[in-house]
Every structure is written in C-alpha cells, then in structure tokens.
C-alpha cells in the first residue's frame, strides 16, 4: 500500500511540469495585450512610447524563452510572478480567494454526498417502483438544469420567502460559522444539485450491477442478513465507480464555480478567473490554471489512493 502511494505521488510530478509548460505557451498564442487594455482603461490617448515603457517595466519585452525560463525557475519556489494588472504577487492574489472557493466546493460535495447516497441506494433497492421513478426524475432534472439558473431561482425564492438575501461581504468560516454557512449554503445547493444527481445515478447503476454479481448470491446463500448483504458485500464494491465520479466532479467544481460565484457575487477564484481573462492578465491566468490543474491532479491522486484502500486487487498489483 505504501509503495503504491509513493509511486502514485511521484508520478504526479511529471504531469504537473507538463501542465506548466503547456499553459505558458498556449496562453501566449492568444492575441491581446494587457498593457493597452490597462493604459486605455480610463480612456484617453496613450502614446506608443508609454506602452513600450510599460511593457519594458513588466518584462514583457524579453524574448519568450527568457520569460519562460524565469517562470519555470520561479515555480518550484512557489513564485508565480506578479499580476500584470494589480502588480501584487499572483500567489497572494490566489491565496486570498481560494479559501472561499475551496470551502464552497467542499460544502457542495458534502451536500451532494449526503443527498446522493440515500437517493441512489433507495432508487437501486426499489428498482421499478414509484420511488425509483421519482428519484430518477429528480436526478435527471439535476443534470439538465444549469446551476446558475438554479442559483437565480434560489435568490428569488429567498427574496419571496425570507424577504432578504444573505449578507453581502463574506464572513470567514472561523469568524462566524453560522453566518458563513448561511451565506454559502445557497450557492453550494445550486451547484450540489447537479453534483448529487450525477453521483446518485452512478451509485444507482453500480449498486444494481453489483447486486447481480455472483458473490452477492454467495452471500445470500450463506444466510447473511439482507442488510449486511447490501452494506458489506454490495456497497463497498459499488463505491468504486462512485468515488471516481465524486472525485472528477469535485475537481470540475474548482474550475467550474465561475458562473455560480458571479451569480451570488462571491469573491472566489471563479470571479478572479473571469477578471483575469477579461484583462488579459497572462501571469494571473497561468497561475490560476496551474492551481486548478494541481487541484485536479491532487484529487485524482486521492481517488486513486481511496480506490486502492477499497479494492485489494489494486493494492497488491505487482
């Protein structure tokens, strides 16, 4: 198990390096110039010289390979350069906002799992019943409804029932957990609905598949209680594909909160993403992409390790 874990962890390094290289060059293929946008932001004329001077100051006139060299050297030290717009450290800009997005993603996942497990299990155990049809209707809805639209519905519902919105200006989790929860539960719900639908449907089909396996029949032939057959023999096997879906969806969330954060006016990395794209802030953008990619890789790693913990066949693979 340990050697498997270490092997998997070491394998993430080349993946991350490849991402870093790819991000750097792909972003520089895209046309557009931050300096022009920045200098003309407040209107008025800007001279060619001013632009050149600004570019020189920001190091944008260096040959591309030099820029690449500086970027790659900085990476291992956690130095992602400075934002071309705010001229703050990119890492600092991201660090200031990632907590909120991360919290939102975790909250959505918790919500999704809490909803998906009972729904998926019930749906599978009572296959073909009214309950099953209702659950399947709900979950197909979750996949069909876009989360931002659901977000807007939630806002309108809050206005119509409570008559007010959660306070603007995010309160930290540790300052005032209740207010924080009240603020985040709504966006988490609008994202989590889809998330839980995907998970519940996956869980349903994998439970159904597992329950038709020979070893389930063996367990029943042993006279084991039906609930133990399902929980001990069924669930653990059915979890394998479900864990993959949860992991992939979580990683997807990190990058996919863009719209939801805008709807609920949350200052997370989703919003930062939008801003940096609009402003053509290459340094910030590549930092963000790299962060999300790292998140993706870490989640995948965790899923793999969880897989190994659940399935001895992977653990012992020689």
């Amino acid at each position: 198990m340990l050697s498997y874990a270490i092997r998997r962890i070491l394998l993430t390094i080349p993946t991350l390096i490849a991402v870093a290289v790819l991000v750097f060059f792909v972003l520089r293929v895209v046309p557009g110039d931050i300096v022009e946008i920045k200098l003309t932001a407040e209107g008025g004329m800007v001279s060619e010289e001013e632009i050149m001077r600004e570019k020189e100051r920001l190091g944008l006139n260096d040959p591309i390979m030099v820029q690449f060299y500086k970027y790659m050297i900085g990476l291992p030290q956690g130095d992602l350069g400075i934002s071309l717009w705010t001229e703050n450290n990119v890492s600092a800009e991201i660090a200031a906002r990632i907590g909120l997005s991360f919290e939102l993603a975790v909250l959505s996942t918790v919500l999704a799992v809490l909803i998906a497990f009972p729904l998926g299990t019930l749906s599978a155990l009572f296959r073909g019943s009214i309950l099953d049809y209702v659950i399947r209707l709900l979950t197909i809805g979750g996949i069909a409804v876009p989360s931002f639209w659901l977000g807007m519905l939630i806002i309108m519902m809050l206005l119509a029932t409570v008559g007010q919105l959660p306070p603007l200006g995010t309160v930290g989790l540790f300052e005032d957990p209740l207010t924080n929860l009240y603020q985040l539960i709504w966006p988490a719900l609008s994202v989590g609905y889809r998330y839980s639908s995907v998970t519940a449907r996956m869980l349903r089909s994998s439970i159904l598949e597992v329950l038709s396996e020979d070893y389930i029949r063996t367990a029943r032939a042993k006279g084991v209680f039906e609930r133990i057959v399902i929980i001990k023999h069924g669930m653990r096997n059915a979890l394998l594909p479900t864990v993959t879906v949860i992991g992939l969806e979580f990683a997807f969330l990190l990058g996919g909160l863009v719209v939801t954060e805008s709807v609920f006016n949350l200052n997370g990395i989703g919003k930062l993403f939008v801003d940096s794209v609009v402003r053509n802030d290459l340094n910030l953008l590549q930092g963000l992409v790299l962060t999300v990619a790292t998140g993706f890789v870490i989640i995948n790693l965790l899923v793999d390790l969880l897989y190994a913990a659940l399935d001895p066949r992977i653990r012992y693979q020689k």
């Binding site: 050697s3 396996e213 020979d214 042993k222």
Partner: protein, 680 residues
C-alpha cells in the same frame, strides 16, 4: 415413488413449479417435478443447458430473482415444509443446514473482502461464535479442504487464489456450519480436468465422512457415473428419468437418456464410427411442444406422445422411473434407436511422403514485465510453446490436448501467424512459413474458433459473413455465383440457404458454430485449425458438430489440427494425439495406442482424472489423482517441467528436461523412467 425409507428422507420435493413472468410471456423453467434426497446421499441432476436444473437448485434455496414464481405441493426438508416458511426462517436455513457451491469460483467470492472474513461470516451469523472461535474454526476448515498454510491464507483476498483454490474455499464456506445438504451447481465446469478430479474427490470424501447429502448439478455424465448414488435426468423443465445411478447407466429407459449417453465420445472404447446424435435442438420453453417435450427429437415418437407421459417404474425396480410411452422399446433397442451409420473415419492411406504441415522446434516466448519493487520492473519470459515439433498429413486429424495454460492455443496461433513465433521453422505445403509467405497460403489454412458467440460479427448477416472471404480472396467474382456458393456452403454444414438473411444472434450456439465451419470451408482449405470448436456446446449438439467435421474430412480430404481439453473428444476425432504440458510435448502417438497404453505419467494422470460415463468402470478404476496445480509458467520447475506434480519424481528428473523417445510404433514420450513405469 422411490425406495428411500421415510425416516431417512432429508429432502422431499413434491410437484415443484417455477415460472418466470417476462414481458413477452411466461416461461415455466421447472415443470411439476418431484424428487427425494436421502440423508448422506449423493444425487445428481443432469441435463443440457436450459433444462431447468440450476433453477431447481436455486428455487430450493429461494435464491431466484423476484420475477420468479415458485410453487410446490411441498418441499419438506427434514420434515419441515420449507416452501411455506417465511423468508426470515429460510435465511436461518441457508448456509446453516443447506449450503450451496456455485459454478464460477472466479466470481463467487467477494473481491474486496478477505477469505477469512467470508469464511467466518456464516459462523458468526448462524452459530454466534466469537471472532476468535470463528477464526480457529476457519483455519480448521481451510486445512480440511486442503489449503496449505491456512493461517496465512485467512488474511488474503480471493484474487490471490487460483480457480481450484477458490473452489476449495467455497466448499469450506459451504461446510462451515456442518450442514445436512450441500447443493453444488456445476462446481467443476470452469476448472481443468485434474483440478476437477481433486475437487470432486474432496467433495465426495467430505460428504461421506460427515454424512452430508449432496445435490450435484452437472451436464457431465462422467461425473455422474463416478460419484452419484441417484440421478434425475431433466429435459425441457421436466424430469424424464429418475432413479438409482447404476440402474440408469446400465438400463437407460428414456430415449433422451439413451441419446445423451450415446452421443458422448468415450475414452475407454476404441475409436469407432460416428457418434449417435439427437437431431434438432431443445425446445423454447416459451412455447414448448404439446405432450412429451422430447417428441420432436425422438426417434420413437408416435401418436401417444401427444399426451404428457408420467414417470413410471421400469424393469420392475421401484427405484427406476422414466416418463415415456415407449420405454420397453427404448430399453430393448437402446443401441439402435439412434441411427449411427457404421461408416467410419477416413481410412484412406495417409501419404507419409508429403506432409501438409511441418512444425519444427516451434518456440513462442512472451516477455512480460511486472513490478517487483517501488519503481523497478522485473521482466521475465513465458515460454508458452517451447520446442514443439510435429507433422500433419493431408486428410489427417492431429489432436492437441492439455490443460489450460499448456500452450496448445499458442501453437495454433503461431501456425496461423496470428502471433509471430519467436523460434523454430514451419512449412506448409512445401512453403516455408514466415510473415511474408503466410499470405500465399492463408486460403489453404483456415481456423474455427471456440466461442461461436463472439467470433461472428453481430452486425453482419450470415450471408455477408460468408460472402466476405469469397470477395476478399477473389475466389468467386460473380455475385450470382457467390449467392449459389453460399447456399452450397450452408447446405454442406447442415443449415438452410434461407438462413443467410439471419443475424448471428438469431441462431443457436450449434448453428453458429456451423456458420464458423462454413466460413472456414468457403476457402476450400487443406488444413483447418480447430481451437476448442465444441467446448461451448451441449453434449447432443457437440456430437452433431463432431460428426459434421468428420463427414467433411471424408468428403473433402481436409486435415485438422484439433485443439481441445476434452480427452474423449480428442480421442474420438484424432488419428494422432499430442499431449502438451507447460509448452512442451509430453507424449505423442496414434490415438488408440496412446489411450490404451499411455506411457507418460502426465498422460496417465490426465486420463485418470477424466471420468468415464459408466459407473461400473468408473468406480473400479484405480486412479492417480494429480497433486497441486499447474506451476507458474514464469518460473517453471527445473529439469522436467512436470516434475513438480509427478508421482514418480526422483532427483534425476530435476536435472534436465527429458527428450522425446520412442516407446512403440510411432509413439513417443518425454520421460526418463519409461521402462521402469512400464513394468510397474
């Protein structure tokens, strides 16, 4: 209805029916069957696939899916009618007093739980043992079923066990609570013949030692003959013959039983003529024939058969029942009711000067790598085929037999150049075979695969499947002629021209295998490599296909390389037989000679392990049961590859692999102790 003393009856099933309600109709999978099992008795339920034998077993345990509707006058187990008890009571019986062993050892154990966990489960559930007691009992059980180092094995997972070992674990689980009845559903069908012998001996030994009754469900008549006290023969959801095993084998009275017995090739008889075959296919249970269900296939069928026959006593013996109106005729003329022409195998002189295929020192090595440490890979070589030489003459059948993993399929694939051989020479029709020249002889060298379900493209009609090679090789360019050729081919393999419009899924397994043969024939080949062509088929269909292959050989002079694991089938069809083990030829000779006088200890053990469908012979046979399992091909034993399992092994055997040496007329064996063993 039978002669079991009332107080000795363990299980008494009266008028059991099982129906499956499907969207397009109701299937009665078990139709009004009654039988009894005595305490400590070994009952076999035998029949072809789809006859309802497994459904019977599962319905006794109430393990069928919810759509199944089970009804019975009674199912008395030890005096209690278990057809009426609630599910909670039924659960207490399962695994405690009735346990079950399933067909597929590879999938019947939960992959994510340890062996110990799965083995102690019934002990903890039914006997309320403490964890510690249960573990101790589990170790005892594993020892009892012959698993070495049981303490260590307890914490391992199913994937660390071989198929045979897993089936031993299943038996241990079945025995855990010392049940009164074990139901074994085809427990050895997925295993090799030597492992089958080990498992069945174990089951028989344990059941007689502990007085456990066994219901064994099987399609293998040899297994029935070797182990069963009583037999139920099932056909199309009904019991057609029932009674004492010796009696039924000696005087079979139902035409179906007779046909079944006569369509199995026999290892103990000299190579004879065609096999008797039962024409046609078992009926579709959605709309079974009126009256006797065997009527459409029965050579004795008459008007009376429109009524449903009931089980009646035969030969004045209370313990022998058959359901047929013509049992007198059937048992009197048993040997002649199935027309088997006496015409035999192609006896045309074999042209010894011009071999069709020469294989000389064939080697097929596969390099494999596997992880051995943190980041290190170790590579090894699997010698799937290691120095195999033989010849096939025109019009001759050479059988290649051995257990799974012996390299027999690799030989076939190397000859066809589906895998590139790593060493040795091959000649076909005087052409040296290599990757360039093989295209020249492709047409003359065809193949029939094992699985008639997956080797035909499901999106092509039978006509298109047969047309394709004709087009590719430009054999028949005119489309009209092609149509005619396809009709000819279909007729030749016993199908009808109208079937060309059908898709593979619309045909039965036997019919699909016929299409496979037609496809091979369309090239008018000189050699057909048959890779387990009948192992997926039921006995009666298997006989039809074997007869077809033999007829075609006689008619067209085709040579076959017949690869199979079934010794009796290989013996029946082959002129010459090669026995392989771990990539090497162990013995080689004329079929009759080799089977009547096997010289190599492995050949002997293989033959001993294959049960013969005759209780008299089977129970008086002295058997060498092979120990252990096939060693890892990555790390074969030193010296003779068979040394690790041989009963006669000495140090000299471990020194080097013996060469094949003459031991009779065209009979060779690779063993250094041939003379010694001959006299022993």
């Amino acid at each position: 209805m039978s002669n079991i003393d009332d107080k000795d009856v363990l299980l008494d099933v009266k008028n059991l029916n099982v129906e499956f309600k499907l969207k397009n109709g109701t299937v009665r999978a078990v139709d009004n069957i009654s039988f009894q099992v005595g305490k400590g008795e070994f009952l076999a339920i035998v029949g072809e696939s789809g006859c309802g034998k497994s459904v019977t077993a599962l319905s006794l345990m109430r393990l069928l899916p919810r759509i199944a509707d089970i009804s019975a006058d009674h199912i008395k187990f030890d005096g209690v009618d278990i057809s009426k008890v609630p599910e909670s009571e039924m659960r207490k019986l399962r695994g405690r007093r009735i346990s079950m062993i399933f067909q597929e050892p590879m999938t019947s154990l939960n992959p994510v739980l340890t062996i110990g966990d799965q083995l102690t489960e019934p002990l903890l559930t039914h006997l309320e043992m403490s964890e510690k007691e249960a573990n101790a009992r589990a170790i005892e059980l594993l020892g009892m079923v012959g698993i070495p180092e049981p303490e260590k094995r307890l914490t391992q997972y199913p994937h660390q066990f071989s198929g045979g070992m897993r089936q031993r674990v299943m038996i241990a689980i079945g025995l855990a609570c010392e049940p009164d009845l074990i139901i074994a559903d085809e427990p050895t069908t997925a295993l090799d013949v030597t492992i089958q012998a080990q498992i069945l001996e174990l089951l028989k030994d344990i059941s007689s030692r502990l007085g456990v009754a066994v219901i064994m469900i099987t399609h293998n008549l040899g297994v029935v003959a070797a182990y069963a006290d009583r037999v139920n023969v099932m056909y199309a959801a009904r019991i057609v013959e029932q009674g004492d095993a010796n009696q039924i084998f000696e005087k079979p009275s139902h035409p179906y039983t007779i046909g079944l017995l006569r369509s199995v090739p026999r290892m103990d008889k000299p190579r004879g003529g065609r096999l008797a075959t039962i024409d046609g296919l078992p009926p579709n249970l959605m709309s079974p024939p009126v009256g006797c269900r065997f009527k459409p296939r029965c050579p004795l069928a008459g008007d009376a058969c429109d009524n449903v026959p009931v089980l009646e006593t035969q030969h004045g013996k209370e313990d022998h029942l058959a359901a047929c109106f013509f049992t007198d005729k059937a048992s009197k003329d048993g040997s002649t009711i199935y027309l088997a022409e006496t015409s035999t195998h192609s006896s045309a002189e074999i042209d010894k000067d011009n071999p069709l295929l020469v294989v000389d020192g064939l080697e097929q090595y596969f390099s494999v790598s596997f992880r051995s440490g943190w980041l290190s890979n170790t590579s090894g070589t699997v010698k799937a085929v290691d120095g195999v030489s033989f010849e096939v003459y025109p019009g001759q059948t050479v059988g290649l037999v051995g257990e799974s993993g012996c390299g027999k399929t690799s030989v076939g694939r190397a000859i066809l150049h589906l895998n590139q051989a790593t060493g040795g020479k091959m000649q076909f029709n005087d052409v040296d075979l290599n990757s360039n020249s093989v295209a020249l002889v492709r047409q003359d060298m065809q193949v029939i695969f094992q699985d008639p379900f997956s080797s035909l493209n499901p999106r092509m009609t039978i006509g298109q499947i047969l047309e394709e090679p004709l087009k590719v090789h430009n054999i028949v360019t005119d489309s009209q002629e092609r149509e005619e050729k396809i009709s000819d081919l279909l007729l030749k393999v016993g199908l009808y021209p109208y079937m060309r419009e059908r898709y593979p899924h619309e045909l039965s397994g036997g019919q699909r295998q016929r299409v496979g043969i037609a496809r091979a024939l369309s090239m008018e080949p000189k050699l057909i490599i048959c890779d387990e062509p009948v192992s997926a088929l039921d006995v009666s269909v298997q006989a039809q296909i074997i007869n077809l292959l033999e007829d075609l050989q006689r008619e067209l002079g085709i040579a076959y390389l017949f690869i199979a694991h079934d010794l009796a089938v290989v013996k029946h069809i082959s002129h010459k037989v090669i026995v392989m083990y771990l990539g090497k030829i162990m013995e080689f000779g004329e079929g009759d000679d080799l089977y009547s006088n096997p010289r190599h200890p492995y050949t002997r053990a293989l033959m001993d392990a294959a049960p013969i469908p005759d209780p008299q012979i089977e129970r008086n046979r002295e058997k060498i049961v092979l120990k252990g399992e096939l060693p890892s091909p990555l790390n074969p034993p030193k010296g003779c590859v068979f040394s690790s399992r041989c009963n006669f092994v000495t140090d000299a055997c471990r020194a080097e692999m013996p060469q094949l040496q003459e031991c009779g007329n065209e009979h060779q064996a690779a063993c250094i102790k041939l003379d010694e063993l001959e006299n022993a």
